[in-house]
Amino acid sequence: MDKNLQKRVKYQISLIIAGIFLYISAHAQTVNITGKITSSDDGQPIPGVSIKIKGTGLGTVSSIDGSYNIAAEPGKVLVFNFLGYSPREITIKQAGAINVTLNSTSSNLNEVVVIGYAKAPRKDLTGSISSISGASLRQTQPTTFDQALQGKVAGVVVQQVSGQPGGGVSIQIRGVSSITGSNAPLYVIDGIVIPPVGDPGNGSNPLNAINPSEIESVDVLKDASATAIYGSQATNGVVVVTTKRGKAGPPQISYDFYTGYQEIIKRLPTVDLPQFATFINARAVAWGFDARPEFANPQYLGPGTDWQKELFRKAPMMNHTLTINGGDARTQYLLSTSYFNQDGIALGSNFKRYSLRLNLDNKTTDWLKIGTSLQLAHINENVNSTSSSVISTALSITPDVPVLNGDGSFGGVTDPNGWVQPVANPVALAKIVKDQKRRNQIFGNVYAEIQLTKDLSLRNELSGNFDFNTEDRFSPTYSFGKGTPSPNFGSSAAGQNFYIVIRNFLTYNHNFKKFHIDALAGHESQENTFENVSGARRNFPSNNVQAINAGDASTATNSGDNSQSNPTGGSARESWFGRINFSWDDRYLLTGNIRDDGSSNFPTNNRWGTTYSGGFAWKINNEAFLKGVKSINELKLRLGYGLTNNQGIPGNTYVTQLASVTNGLAGTAQFQNNLSNQSVKWEKTDYYNAGIDASFWNGRLGFSLDVYDRETKDLLLQVPLPAYSGTVAGWGPGSMQAPYANVGSLTNKGFDFQINSTNITSKNFSWKTAFTISRNNNKVTYLGAGGTDANLSQKSYVINDIIEKTVVGQPVGEFYGYVFDGIFAKPSDLLNHARPADANGNPYPVSPAGGGIWYGDRMFKDLNGDGIIDSRDQTFLGSPIPKFQYGINNTFNYKNFDLNIFFSGSYGNKVFNQMAIQQNDPQNHTTYFTSVLDYAKLAMVDPAGSSSDVNNVYVTNPNTTIVGVRNDNTNSNNRPNSLMIEDGSFLRCKNITLGYRFSESLLSKIAVKSVRIYANVSNAFIITKYKGMDPEIGSWNPLQAGWDSGYYPQPRVFTIGANITLR
């Protein structure tokens, strides 16, 4: 040991001894300070405020009446800290009373944000994180909190997938990076990771167990420097939900209530009976068959059935939430219970949620803190309208079918003289079929936090999501005319999913003179296991006895799977992680993250992936040259870079899975379920982010701007290969599951901008505006071998052709097809315009006979100018990805009134109106939109002349887009084309709320602390050119985004409600 070092060690030891001495001797020279802490809002005492002597680590906590008592040296600084309030520092001059009033946080400057395994003040962030308060979230009366994020967070694209009560939304943070359908961000609720969602649009959204009124805040972690600590699951961002917790103080009881109803915003223009009959008559003349004698005189027919009117209803909804919170300095609690009931606007849908939450924090000893977040939920959903496809059926069944026959039985399609498409009666299906899903969810965590030393603590956390679900289905015997009859059948399914995370991490933080460090290191293991079983039978003796046992045992079928036996199935992940934050002089902040994840989804040799990131922030407002500028409260520059990984594929895709199947040979046969890819590996994304946060004039104006560049390599996805591969990405009878592979690269570049301003503030009136806008530019840069031909294509089964194609140089999932160019209406069209050609390149002849092209067929642009229409004349028809998404929120307060108006919008995205294709096709055998009546009508120049002479025929309505009524489709009129792609831009008035807060003087007489009543309209109106029900179309599969295939539309909702807090 050299002398210098010896010296230094000695010096350090003496320093430590001196420190201990100081620590002990501190008492000797102190004075006693007492006081009371109150809130500036209401003058009420605040219990539980932390009072610390700056630079010593000594401190106390205010008691229930807000009073405190501390001994400290004069000249020291007392720091008063309480969540939701601005901290205050007061220098001690002498012994005596120091009463303190704390101001509640109004600007987001003092906000505390969840950064993953910890919280940090917003002003100290280096990463890109947006936050929304629970109150702001609840403005739209969402059924589930994810629905409420729309337009509130810049950079986050929220699209409703289903308006079914409790139905899910798709959320993309800063564009599509992976194409595997795992673009959803990671959801973390009170530290509990919500297992990835398969297809929540189908009425099983796991996020719907959370009652929005229990939410304190939602933080959205966007860039890699913010998300890297969550590792591979977080490559598409993280949505962190924090529920309310108890506050020390006397019990506070609050009751929230609302009730209202929902209605459909827009019905589609289907034909009535006289229109339908007129059309069928005209078509029968042209076809030479399919005439229906009962339609001989359409003018005498009644209006027929308006199926949408029969199916959609004004549907009630209501919610009650009762919350009690309180506690003392040692223990804080929050107990909340709620009941929510919503009927869907379509018959056969309902959502009920009963939930109970207990959040508890206890400071057991001075070194141990324990607590729990626990939620029990029971959900009872009727998903029949979705599972029986009643909405699309209502848009298929014709108006000649009565809902009920004269004898009270359900009506059905019928045509004694011809053939009808077997369409069921949707109202009957909605009423008589049962599909009830029930779910019990226990969802929570327990933690223990051990203060090992002053600076070092260890937190142990066990969290889990235990989901027990059943589904009970019964379909009685029915027969509706010539529609598909059905014998009765019943099925019953039960399953459980367990998701358990054990997490241990050390946190260290220390203040040096100008230098602050905090660090985190930990380990986490996650396990996902499941068990399920289902059984079904047919031939029940009565439709009233619906338990499985009552069915015919010889028809029984069953299935089941589990991951509980040994070896296990399911999935597992193990991770090591660490983070270090430095800050110097409250001016320069530096963050580094690293995380190593092992995933069971990859073959042994590719199992581990490392995620890392770094962030830097410069708080310019703390520099000397800006210190004096009082108008600038915050000015911060952030830079971040990270490498993130994605493992978002199902397990076991790297081996061929052999499923046991039965066929006519003896025993079971082994069917290959998937095309395996043994070299599948982690997807990697390089993520660059730069941002500015600024706040002026005490928060009256604030903005935040981020620009980013995400470059994804080894893009992991289920490759939609040509069908000759024998595979399909999705499901097709007898096709193998397409392989999961690392196929290419893409980039997402864009910006998010958020601005908040207080436009007017006076004694009685204030007006605040918040505006968010985001843009993401997505581009595929590489798609493997195949050069310019390489593509990922998505087929629409309605037109049996590709409608969305992803190629290098374009965004993911562009619409693709032919360009509509009018209809063949005059002789020159047929003689001069390019016509479709057969496989040998010979154009189909001009003729009214089968196999010919004739008047009323659609013309398509000959883009390559070779004189014929073939697959080479297709082009890109626009992208389903919005160019911009934005939200505008205005809040007005006048005396005791508050008014909130919130718009959200999307610009520049296209929608594939798949719903309108068949209803506008004269060859169709289901119902029609009224637009079909404008089918191309042929006339002859010389009525005595030939009807097959090109020069003697013309179309009387040449500007129509609807084809003529020939029973031939050689032209492939419904080939993918620009007519099917519509502008999906919209501006939606998402919410209008008017509230009134009763004055406190009035309430004080009846022992009520506060009462607010309000009236609310959600989805008040929508401005759009889109012709379908709703242009807002979410999808979990970016290769198939923007397809309107008859989603459950979002309703307009009227509610009135009250928030009551008892004293």
Binding site: W419, N460, S565, G651, G732, K795, S847
Partner: protein
């Protein structure tokens, strides 16, 4: 203070234990309900389980339900249906690249090929060394036989198509060109030759044998003999057809089932006449079974749960005209006429009396008729034959007839007349190309064969084959008919005659599905050789 530290240490150690508790195998999560290819192919019986799946089930569903009869019989003018877009196009010979039935045929056949390739490659690379070479080759031969059947149909329907032997190569390089049709047939013949050499002479019921492979090989050589020819067929290939088909006729010890009518009953599934039949099971649910009844039956009354008959097919007038007056057994087993009584259909309900013309073949009644409680519309237990001995007899006769305009060859007459005699019609003393075509049409109606026959015809005699199609139109042969049971008179349906432009030689090639061409633009380019 000391106690505190102890607590802290204990808790810390517990946490450390929790971390250490993560074993290395923690991240191994194989499925519990499915076998992985890594631990399969260990024994001969594993190989048998792997090949068993190739005989029926999901991968055969799309082709069997949507393409076999629509393309094989409706397109060839044997069945009629004029509503509902996709099948109207098939009926009127105006098929476009968006046609769903044609797509299903394409997808379905390639699904079969994908499964076969997987089995072949897995056995070649992973089979346990303890399995004998003969057993390995026999299993590979089964898969190659099935693969050849699928490629044969692809070549018949589309001509040039991509040949794929290893689907996993598509992950890296997904875009293939089409291969010239003669190479597709060459590939088929190679697979079948391997199968003929390595399959056993007998096997358990339902499995293919060397006779299946040789019969199919005869049929393939007969087809290949005409490829690219004009007027006459390649004699060497005709001789090969004759050799293999003749070998099956003479040396297999297999015989026709005595009753033609009983041939199509589920009770007689996999009878000795059946050389390759799809092994369907009942109660397997949508997408896994034989659903022909559900679509094509004339009435839901005779079906399980009385569901189905969604696209009730009618026989054409043209088919009806092919039946000689004595040919009642085959007629009644194939198509229903108004007034026909079928006691075995809905037997519990007193049988079924037809009220119009409709399809009979493949219509086997309900769950009770077949003593099959789990049978439903999606899962008829009928094992419909893709190749049966009568077909091989006629192939043999045609191979002998070859390029001649008539033959009285003894072998040809023997086997040709065996088919006729079983049907109860007069035996003949000479065979002509026309009489052979008619015999095949009547014998094999609604078994998906007639389109294959017409395509084979179009290879070496395109102008007459085209004329043949156009004559069907000219004589309104493609239209359905009504039948009066009292006068026993059939009347052609006159309400709506489909007017379709004349056929050309291109009418014998289906368009490749548009979705495939958009996904793989190379399919629109001229085909390239495979060999």
């Amino acid at each position: 203070m000391f106690m505190k530290s102890i607590h802290k240490i204990i808790i810390t150690l517990l946490c450390a234990a929790a971390v250490a508790g993560c074993k290395k195998s923690f991240l191994d999560r194989p499925s519990n309900s499915q076998i992985s290819s890594l631990n399969f192919y260990k024994t001969t019986s594993d190989l048998r389980l792997a090949t068993a799946s190739l005989y029926g089930g999901a991968q055969w569903f799309q082709w069997n339900t949507a393409a076999m009869i629509p393309i094989g019989d409706v397109l060839s003018g044997t069945g009629s249906f004029q509503y509902s877009n996709d099948i109207v196009q098939v009926f009127t010979r105006t098929i476009t690249a968006q046609n769903g039935l044609v797509t299903n045929g394409w997808v379905g056949l390639y699904n079969v090929i994908g499964q076969c390739n997987g089995v072949i490659n897995a056995i070649q690379t992973q089979a346990d060394p303890s399995i004998s070479a003969a057993d390995k080759n026999a299993a590979i031969a089964e898969a190659k036989f099935v693969r050849a059947v699928a490629y044969y149909h692809l070549a018949i329907y589309w001509g040039a198509v991509p040949i794929i032997e290893d689907n996993s190569k598509l992950i890296k390089d997904p875009l293939l060109p089409r291969n010239i049709v003669s190479d597709v047939y060459k590939f088929v013949a190679k697979d079948l030759t391997f199968a003929a050499q390595n399959l056993p002479k007998t096997d358990e019921k339902g499995r293919v044998t060397t006779w299946s492979a040789q019969g199919m090989l005869g049929k393939v050589y007969l087809t290949m003999a005409g490829v690219g020819k004009s007027g006459s067929r390649d004699q060497a290939l005709l001789d090969s057809a004759k050799k293999y088909a003749g070998n099956v006729c003479k040396n297999s010890n297999l015989n026709l089932l005595p009753s033609y009518y009983d041939l199509f009953k589920a009770q007689n599934n996999d009878n000795p006449e059946s050389l390759f039949a799809l092994q369907w099971a009942a109660g397997v649910g949508y997408g896994n079974g034989n659903a022909m009844q559900l679509y094509f039956a004339p009435s839901p009354d005779i079906l399980p749960q009385k569901i189905g008959g969604w696209q009730a097919l009618q026989p054409t007038y043209d088919l009806y005209r092919m039946y000689a007056a004595k040919d009642t057994v085959r007629r009644k087993a194939t198509i229903m006429l108004n007034g026909d009584f079928y006691p075995e259909l809905n037997a519990a309900g007193g049988g079924y009396k037809a009220t119009g013309t409709g399809l009979k073949k493949h219509i086997i009644g309900n769950d009770k008729d077949n003593n099959s409680p789990t049978m439903d519309g999606w899962s008829s237990p009928e094992h419909n034959a893709i190749l049966r001995l009568a077909d091989v007899y006629l192939v043999y006769a045609e191979a002998i007839l070859g390029n001649n305009s008539t033959t009285s060859d003894g072998d040809a007459l023997t086997y040709f007349n065996k088919v006729r005699a079983r049907a109860g019609v007069d035996i003949v003393t000479a065979i002509t190309p026309a009489s052979l075509r008619t015999e095949r049409r009547v014998e094999l109606a609604f078994e998906g064969q007639y389109w294959i026959d017409l395509v084979r015809y179009s290879y070496y005699d395109p102008s007459n084959a085209v004329q043949f199609l156009n004559d069907q139109d000219a004589t309104h042969g493609r239209i359905s008919f009504t039948y009066d049971p009292t006068t026993k008179k059939a009347t052609r349906d006159t309400t709506a005659t489909p007017i379709t432009l004349p056929a050309t030689v291109n009418s014998f090639t289906l368009p490749v599905p548009s979705s495939e061409v958009t996904t793989d633009p190379k399919l629109a380019q001229p085909p390239v050789p495979y060999y």
